[in-house]
C-alpha cells in the first residue's frame, strides 16, 4: 500500500480539496466579531455523544443540522475559527477515546457496542487526521490559496466527511511512511493513538527454557550459513592488528565499536600483543583483560587485579599510578570488554578508567556494544582517554557470559526471569558449593525453622522468619563449619550472590538473616539436605 503522505506537495495538493477550512486569511478577523457559529459544536457534541445514542442517530442528526443551517453557514463563510473547531473536535475525540478505552478494558463486546466503537474510533481518527492536515494547511494555502474557492458548507457535512475518513482509513497502512527523516518519524510514530498493535500474545507459544536454548543454540551455531563470512570478516580485523598496536604504542587508546561480539577479537589482539609487543610497550608489559559485562564488577576488584598485575603494593588508584611512575619499565595494557555495559555506566568507573588510560605507561583498548557509547564521556573524561575509534563489526554472536539471552528476552516480555527459585534452585546452587557451605545452609535452614516453630504463631504469616547473624555464626563455629568470621562472611556472600538468603538490620542494629522461602519449602530443603 502506498504511504499515506509522502511529500509535502502531495499533502498540499490534497488539503484544499478535502478541507476548505480557513482559506481566506482576510476573513478570519471578521469572524471573531460575529457570533461564532454553533454548528460545528453541535455536530461534534453529537458525534461524541454517540456512545450513548443508538447507532443510526448520529449521522441522521448531523445531516439534519447541516441541512437546517446552510444559510447561516454561507453567511459566515462556512468557517469556524480554528481554535473553536479544534476545541470541539478535541472534546469529541476525548470522549470517543474514552469510549474506546472502556471498551478495551471491559473486553466483552456486544454487537451494538462494536458498532458504537467503530463510530467512536472513526471520530477519534478523523479528528486526528484533521490535525495532521492542519499542520500542513499553512503551506497548502500559500501554495495554492487561489486554486480552490472558499468552502461549500456541504464539505462540512458529516456524510461527506465520513466518506473521506473511510477512504482515509483504508489508506492508512500499518507501515509508516518510509522516507521520513528520523525526527519526523519519531513524532509520527509517537502520535497519541497511533500505536495500533494487535492484541496477539505469545501465550500460544511455549517460551524457551535455558536448557532448550543452549542445546539448540549449540547445534545452530555450527549450522550458521554465514560462518565462513564471519571468519573472513574477523580475519580482516586481525590484519589491522599491527596498526592498532602502533596506535596503542603512540599513547592513543582504542575503542572498537560495531555490531557483534568483539570478545574474541580482543582476545586475539591480546595474543598478538603478547607475541609481538610494539617497542614502546616495555619488556615487562602486563596485559590485563577486564570483562565489563560481568554484573558483579566492582571498582575495588578491578583495581585489585590491576594492582596485582603490576605487583603494586597498594590497590588505590593513585597508588597504582604512582607505583607505575616510579617503575618506568613496567607497562600495563588494559583490554576492556564492553566499556558501555550497564554495570560500568554507574559511578566513577569511567573516570577511573580514563585516569588510568591517561597515564603514559597504561595502554587501553576497549570494545563497546551499544551505539550510544559516546554519551558516556564528558569532554574531560574523553580528553583523558584520547580515543581512536575503529569500526569493528564482527557479526559474531555474543557468548552466554556476555549476553543472557533467555533472561534478557523474558525480562523484555515482562515474564518471570529465572532466579534460583525454590527447592530445586537451592539444591542446584548447593551442589556446586563445597561441603561446609552445604552444612552452613543446613544449619541456617534448621535455625530458621526452629525460630519459626518457637514463636511462629505470634508472627504474621507473611513475615519471613529471621535469625540473628551472631547466633548463627556462633553455632557455625561450634559445628566446625568455619573458623573465622571472614570465612563465614565468604560463605554467606555466596548465598547472597544467588539470592537464597537475605539480610537486614532491625531497629537496634542487630544483623538478621532470613531465607526467602515459605515454610513448606524450607522443610523440603532441609529434608533434601539432610538425606
Amino acid at each position: 500500500m502506498p504511504p499515506k503522505k509522502t511529500t509535502n506537495q502531495k499533502a498540499a495538493a490534497r488539503v484544499p480539496r478535502k478541507r476548505p477550512a480557513t482559506t481566506d486569511p482576510y476573513e478570519i478577523p471578521e469572524e471573531d466579531e460575529i457570533e461564532p457559529p454553533k454548528r460545528r459544536r453541535h455536530a461534534a457534541t453529537v458525534a461524541a455523544d454517540t456512545d450513548d445514542a443508538t447507532v443510526s442517530t448520529p449521522s441522521a442528526s448531523r445531516l439534519k443540522k447541516t441541512v437546517a443551517t446552510p444559510i447561516k453557514l454561507n453567511g459566515l463563510n462556512g468557517i469556524d475559527t480554528p481554535s473553536r473547531k479544534n476545541n470541539a473536535d478535541r472534546s469529541a475525540r476525548r470522549k470517543s477515546a474514552r469510549a474506546l478505552v472502556d471498551r478495551v478494558i471491559s473486553g466483552a463486546i456486544s454487537d451494538d457496542e462494536a458498532e458504537e466503537g467503530d463510530i467512536a474510533r472513526e471520530i477519534y481518527e478523523s479528528s486526528e487526521d484533521e490535525e495532521d492536515e492542519e499542520d500542513e494547511e499553512g503551506e497548502g494555502e500559500n501554495l495554492n490559496g487561489e486554486t480552490e474557492p472558499t468552502t461549500t458548507p456541504s464539505k462540512f457535512a458529516p456524510g461527506r466527511k465520513r466518506k473521506t475518513t473511510t477512504t482515509r482509513t483504508r489508506k492508512r497502512s500499518p507501515t509508516p511512511p518510509r522516507d521520513l527523516p528520523p525526527h519526523e518519524q519519531y513524532f509520527f510514530q509517537n502520535k497519541p493513538g497511533l500505536s495500533k498493535t494487535s492484541n496477539n500474545t505469545l501465550s500460544s507459544l511455549q517460551l524457551l527454557t535455558h536448557d532448550e536454548y543452549f542445546s539448540l543454540s549449540r547445534d545452530l551455531s555450527s549450522a550458521n550459513p554465514h560462518r565462513t563470512d564471519i571468519t573472513h570478516l574477523a580475519s580482516l580485523h586481525v590484519s589491522s592488528f599491527p596498526q592498532w598496536a602502533f596506535e596503542l604504542s603512540q599513547s592513543f587508546s582504542l575503542c572498537l565499536y560495531g555490531y557483534g561480539s568483539k570478545r574474541q577479537i580482543l582476545h586475539k589482539f591480546a595474543t598478538y600483543l603478547s607475541s609481538h609487543p610494539p617497542c614502546s610497550l616495555g619488556q615487562a608489559n602486563k596485559i590485563v583483560i577486564i570483562n565489563g559485562y560481568t554484573p558483579s564488577i566492582t571498582i575495588r576488584e578491578l583495581l585489585c587485579s590491576l594492582a596485582s598485575a603490576v605487583s603494586s603494593p597498594t590497590t588505590t588508584l593513585p597508588g597504582i599510578l604512582s607505583y607505575l611512575t616510579t617503575h618506568p619499565k613496567i607497562t600495563l595494557t588494559i583490554l576492556l570488554n564492553s566499556v558501555s555495559s550497564p554495570y560500568l555506566r554507574k559511578g566513577p568507573f569511567q573516570s577511573i578508567i580514563s585516569t588510568l588510560a591517561s597515564h603514559a605507561q597504561v595502554y587501553l583498548c576497549c570494545t563497546t556494544d551499544s551505539p550510544d557509547f559516546a554519551l558516556l564521556w564528558d569532554s574531560a573524561v574523553g580528553t583523558n582517554f584520547q580515543f581512536l575509534y575503529h569500526d569493528c563489526t564482527t557479526f559474531c554472536s555474543y557468548s552466554p557470559s556476555e549476553l543472557e539471552v533467555v533472561d534478557s528476552v523474558h525480562e523484555l516480555l515482562g515474564r518471570k526471569t529465572r532466579r534460583v527459585g525454590g527447592k530445586e534452585g537451592v539444591a542446584f546452587v548447593l551442589r556446586s558449593l563445597p561441603e561446609n557451605a552445604k552444612s552452613l545452609f543446613r544449619l541456617l535452614v534448621g535455625e530458621v525453622l526452629c525460630a519459626d516453630e518457637g514463636d511462629g504463631q505470634g508472627q504474621g504469616q507473611g513475615e519471613e522468619m529471621s535469625v540473628e547473624y551472631r547466633m548463627v555464626y556462633n553455632k557455625a563455629v561450634e559445628e566446625f563449619i568455619c573458623s573465622s568470621e571472614m570465612a563465614f562472611r565468604t560463605l554467606l556472600k555466596e548465598f547472597h550472590d544467588h539470592q537464597i538468603i537475605t539480610s537486614h538490620k532491625d531497629a537496634l542494629g542487630t544483623e538478621l538473616l532470613s531465607l526467602p522461602f515459605g515454610k513448606e519449602e524450607l522443610e523440603g530443603i532441609l529434608e533434601e539436605l539432610t538425606t
Binding site: 507459544l205 582476545h267 583483560i289 566513577p348 563497546t368 574531560a380 580528553t383 575509534y389 546452587v429
Partner: protein
Amino acid sequence: MNTFTRQRVLSTLLSNPRSFCLEIKMAEFDDTSLFQEDDHRVAYMFTAPPITTAATNTSPTTTTKSAPGRPAKRRRVSEKDTAAPLPAQEKDDEGRQWPRLFNGLESPSAADLRKKTYESAWPVLESEIESVLRDANRQTLEEVVEFLNSDVHECEGRGRVPAGFIITGPNIAGQDLLFSQLGDVLAELGEGRVRFVRLRAGEVGNLKGGLKRIVREGMGGQEGGGGEDGRMGGGGRRYLDYDLEALRMEMEGRGGGRVVVAFQDSEAFDTGLVGELVGLFHSWQDRIQFSVLFGIATSVELFQARLLKATARQLYGAQFDVVQANAVLESVIMAAVVGTKAQLRIGPGLLRKLVRRQQEQVAGVGAFVSSLKYAYMNHFYANPLSALLVDGQKLGKEILQPEHLEAVRMLESFKSHVEQSVEDGRLDHARLLLENDDYLKGRINRQAAKRQQYLGKLLQSLALVIATEHSKRSFVELYEAALEEGISLDQSPGPFDLGDAIKRSTPEELIGLIKRVMTVVVDGNPSLHWNGMGIGQDAEAAIDKFEALRADVERLIETSKKKKTSLKSKYSSQSRVLRTTVVAQKVQLSRDTATLTEEDNAFTAAIDDFFAFFKTLVGCEPLSNLFLNEVWQYDYHLPYEDVFVPRPGATFARALSRPHDYLGCACCDKANCSMVGTLPATSILYHLYSEAGASINVADLWAAYYALVGEDSEIGMDERSALVLFYRGLAEMRAMGFVKQSKKKADHIAKLKWL
C-alpha cells in the same frame, strides 16, 4: 561432566559469574576450558596460550579437553613454555617494525626509514606544542600564584577566605591542564608548605566526601589509607577521617602552611555544598589558612548569583582570565602546522576541517593535537612514498625500489608535471622522467631542496603579509588560502588583496609599514620559526631597497612640512574631490582632480616603487602545483573522520540493515536493503523494527519473523530453532539499546531509536 551439563550449570550460575573466580568452586568444573573460565571473570592477567589454541578455540561452545579447572591456567602456561614459540627473529620483525607496504614488497630498510622519519618528526613538534601550551597558561598561573601569596595576609585581618576565580571558558578539558600546572607551580613555590587539593564535582558528592578528600590530600595523599574509622593524629588521638582537626594537627607538626582548595568545575558543584565548604573554611580560617580557587566556565556574575549572599561575603576574590582557546589554537597552528619545524604539510582541506571542529564542537586543543599526530602517524605508516621525505643524502639509491618509482609515476603531480613539460616542449625531459629510472631518482633527490625553497618562500610571504597588518583574514585562513590557491597580490578580490590598502596609506603609515617589513626581513617571525631572509644577496638588496625608500619618504615629509602642505599620493581618497559650486542659483557639480605637488608625485612614485618591490617578495604557488607534493603533503579527511568523529549509529544501522556490506556473502547479495530469510536474525528483526511503530507486539514480530524463516519459507527452519535465533536477536536488540520493556500491553516492547 559433558559439555551439555556444563552448559546448564553455566546457564544457571550466569547471573553470578563472579562465583566462578572464587576458588572454592573451581574444583567442581572439571573440563571448563581456560577461555570460558576467563570469560566470566571480572579481570584477569592475560598469559598467552599456545597460538594454535587461540586460533581455533573461538566459539564459546567448542571446548578443548584440557587440564582440570583450577590449575588449568597454570597448566596452560607451562604448556606454552613447552610449545615451540615463534622464531625469535620473526617475532622481532613483526613487533618492532612496521608492516611492509607495496603488498609486502617494500624492503625492510625502507619501512624502517619511514618509521625513523616519523620518530624524528613528531617528537620535535610535540615538545614544541607543549611549550606553546605551557606559555599560554603561564601568565594566568603567575597572576594566581601572586594573588595567593600576597593577598593572603592583607585579607586575613578581615577574616575572609581568599578566592581566585579563574575564568576558563566552556572547555572543561582544558581546565585539567591548567589546574595540574597550578598544582605543580604551587608545590614548587611553597616548598612543601602549600597543600593543593583539587576537587571535581563528579568525585565529591557531599560535604563528608569533600572533607575526606581535603583531609586526605591535604595530609599528603595516601598515608593511612587503610583505617576506615579513624586515623592517628599528632598527639596520639584518633580523628575521624573527615575531621579538619586532623589536618590542623598534621600541619602544625610540619610547621604550618596553607591549603589551597580548587573547585575545578565550580558550576557542576551543588551550590549548597560549595556554601557549606566555604563556611567551614571560613570558620577554620584562624587555625588553618585556606584559600580557594574556582574554575568558572561562564562568568563570575553568574556564579555569584548562585551562591548565597552569606557565602559570598566570606570570600575575598580576584578574577583571572585564561587565554582563550582560539588564541591558543592559533599559536599551536603557527608552531606546529605552519612553522618550519613541521616536516609534513597538513593540506588546506584537512586543516580547515580540524579548525572547524575546534570551533563547532567545544573540543580542547588536545583534540587538535591528537588529530595532527594521527595525520603524521597515518602518513608515515601507510604512505610508502613518505620514505622520500628524508634528505637526499640519506636517501641512498638502494632505498628506492622499482616499486617506489612506479608509485611516483602514478602520482597526480607527476602526471601534471609531465604534461606540463610536454606542453612546454621539453619532450626529452618528459621522456626521461617516464622511462629513465636514474633520471627520476635524480629528480626525486632534488625535491627535498625544492621543498625547502618553497617553504621558505611561503613563510616569507605569509610573514610579510601579516606584517603589513592590512589583511582582514585570520592567520589560519590566510595559510589555508596560500596552500590552496597560492599567494598573489594581484588577485582581486582575494585573501591577499593588499594593493589598495597599501597604496592608500599616508606617508607616516608607509614609513611604519616599511619598518615592520624590514624587521620581518631581517629577523623573521619567531612564532613561525622562520628566521628571516638570512644574509644572502637577496636579503641585502631588499634591505637596501627599503632603506632607500624610507629615506626618500622621510625626505619628502620634511620638504612638505617646510612648505606647510600635506603630503599625499594620488591614491589617497582626498585626491579626487567632488566639488559643488552654486553659480547663479544653479548647482554645479564638478569633478576635480586635486592638483598634486611635486612632492606628492614623488611620494606616489615611492608608493608604487614599494608595492612593486613588495610584490617580488611576496608570492608563491599553490601547494598542489608542486612536483611530488604528495610526499610531504597530507590532506585526507577520511581516516581522520573515521577515527576521531565516529558515527556509531550509522555503522550499526548499516551492519544491521545491509549485512552484505560486511559479510559479502552470496546469499544476502540480492537482498539489497530488503528482507530475506537468509539474513542474520538480528538483521531481520532490525528491518521489522524499523518498519514498526513506537510500540511493537512481540507476538506479531515473532509471527513475521517466523514467516520469513519458518517451515513454509525457503529457509525451512523448525519452530524451536527459529525461536532460539529470534531470542538471540531480540536480546541483542535490547543490549544495543533499540528496545525496552513496555508495560502498556501484554507482550509489547517499546521502540527507543529512530535514527
